[in-house]
């Protein structure tokens, strides 16, 4: 049994599991059979009171809690192996929850109190989930309880100190309209391995996020319907399935190259959320000219497959043994 098998079994014990996309390639450089990373994308959880104001919201929170409980169980049984759980940002939607910026941190408590089962599952010390700050919950950085939340996590293969992947929320690639080039401006903030002067950019990042959010309307949707392509439910996983395009691919690849040069990394893939549209996009020029962008989707709004069948948008990504898969979960 591989760790992929273990994860699939756990997921399928509480959900119908469909494969959205997959990529198996040794150039991912994440080949250990004893190491699996699971990426849970945007959930945008709000309080019950706020949820009633919107036509859309976090999908099946009971299913999500079930999934988290199963993953915690897997982790507890996986002594000597690595089972890393990452929430990729926008766990809470403080932007929609509280229009007054100074009150957003307090609003987080309101949201947490409304969903005790899910919160217990995701904050479980057994699960030990890692959290990233997203553009809808960046205000949490100002609260000591959430000070440990990160802007990115490096993903070195087991036994190596040199990361071959990185997970970020991904909103920085959405800042294209803004000048000066915000990715360059905040490059150190996002990718420098050390805290230091870069931390002082957090206020500026928040300013950019606020400006970007203010320009968007979240009244009826955030990401809209996710087009998932051909999904299927059998456990057989092809080496390459449903590889698509992504408007962030080139920007992510360029950024990863710059990070490799600046910080002696070896990034070959990047995991993001933010768009809510699960997909894997690949740049493959042969040999080392390889970069994969793994967008693990989201847990709100809906999704449709190549045949026009609608699903609740509920996806996650699993990486182990140079094999990354995105699953769609349904009850």
């Amino acid at each position: 049994m591989t760790l992929h098998d273990d994860v699939y079994l756990e997921l399928s014990s509480v959900a119908t599991v469909r494969l959205v996309a997959s990529l198996r390639d040794s150039r991912l450089n994440f080949g250990s059979p004893d190491d699996v990373r699971i990426f849970l994308p945007d959930m945008h959880i709000v309080s019950n009171r706020t949820r009633a104001k919107y036509s859309y919201g976090t999908n099946d929170m009971d299913l999500l809690a079930d999934v988290l409980v199963r993953l915690a169980g897997l982790k507890a049984r996986s002594q000597g192996r690595t089972v890393g759980i990452f929430q990729v940002g926008d766990f809470l939607d403080l932007w929609r929850e509280e229009p007054v910026a100074s009150a957003r941190v307090d609003a987080a408590s309101r949201i947490v109190m409304d969903h005790p089962r899910l919160m217990n599952a995701i904050f479980s010390p057994t699960l030990k989930a890692r959290f990233l700050l997203g553009n809808h919950d960046i205000d949490l950085a100002w609260w000591p309880n959430f000070a440990a939340w990160e802007r990115r996590y490096y993903l070195p293969p087991r036994g190596s100190s040199q990361a071959s992947g990185v997970v970020v929320h991904g909103d920085m690639f959405d800042w294209v309209e803004l000048t000066p080039d915000p990715i360059n401006q905040f490059f150190v903030y996002f990718f420098s391995p050390l805290f230091g002067a870069a931390d002082h950019d957090l206020n500026d990042v928040k300013t950019v996020v606020n400006r970007q959010n203010s320009a968007a309307s979240f009244t009826n949707q955030i990401g809209g319907t996710a087009q998932l392509g051909d999904v299927f439910g059998s456990p057989g996983v092809p080496d390459r399935h449903n590889l698509g395009t992504h408007s962030f691919l080139n920007k992510a690849r360029d950024t990863a190259r710059a990070a490799n040069r600046a910080y002696q990394l070896n990034l070959r893939f990047m995991v993001i959320g933010h768009t809510h549209h699960a997909r894997i996009a690949l740049h493959d020029g042969g040999g080392d000219d390889f970069f994969a962008l793994i967008d693990c989707g989201g847990w709100l709004e809906d999704a449709t497959d190549a045949n026009g069948v609608h699903y609740k948008n509920q996806t996650l990504a699993v990486l182990s043994e140079n094999d990354v898969r995105i699953y769609l979960l349904s009850h």
Partner: protein, 210 residues
């Protein structure tokens, strides 16, 4: 203006100055380093820290150096761990792993790997320097460590593991640099004989000030 009025005016002005809540511009900033009891656990307290050879738990906890005069914290009580100075080879290796993991033991315990990929390059020379037998206090006073610790030291160290601050006349030295706090504490002989390194959460918070 009569002398009486001038005197009253002067008194009011002085009283106003005395009552102001704002310290004068030259008032030194009161700062301190708190030894956090969480997220930095002793390899001697039963928690598992991997060895240099493998970052994969579970592994037996490294053996505490026999020469260590610093007693391990009570079992089951999370505490920062002090390393005897000068650093031994085991302590250097463990510290390097901890630094490479971004200052989080949990990253090590779960085998999530390095967050600072070039920790050896960044911190190795400093750790090697600390591994040399020396009197640290005069070294700090002579500025020998200024290349690594450019900011002035702090002496106000609040260690959550202690019942009270030891009143033995020995000032600890704490430095904030590269996202970590380096705390040189006094041993029983009144020398800077113990080193604690922990993530500098203050650096994170500093970055959030409006």
């Amino acid at each position: 203006m009569s002398k009486e009025v001038a005197a009253v005016g002067m008194c009011l002005a002085l009283a106003s100055l005395a009552c102001t809540h704002e310290p004068p511009a030259t008032h030194p900033k009161v700062d301190f380093v708190a030894v956090a009891p969480a997220d930095f656990r002793s390899p001697c307290s039963g928690d598992v820290l991997p060895t240099r050879e493998s970052a994969c738990p579970p592994l037996p906890a490294p053996t505490c150096s026999a020469s260590s005069p610093v007693p391990p914290p009570p079992p089951g009580r999370p505490a920062a761990h002090g390393y005897s100075l000068p650093l031994g080879a085991d302590a250097r290796a463990t510290l390097l792993l901890f630094l490479g993991a971004g200052g989080r033991n949990s990253n090590l315990e779960e085998g999530l790997g390095a967050q600072i990929p070039d920790a050896e390059k960044r911190f190795g020379p400093l750790l090697s320097e600390i591994a040399k037998p020396q009197q640290f206090r005069p070294m700090f006073e002579q500025g020998r460590y200024r290349a690594w610790f450019p900011d002035p030291p702090l002496h106000n160290v609040i260690d959550a593991r202690e019942e009270q601050t030891p009143l033995n006349g020995c000032l600890p030295y704490a430095f904030r640099a590269s996202g970590f706090e380096w705390i040189f504490k006094c041993d029983a002989k009144g020398e800077l004989g113990e080193l604690i390194v922990q993530k500098d959460w203050n650096a994170v918070r500093e970055g959030m000030k409006p």
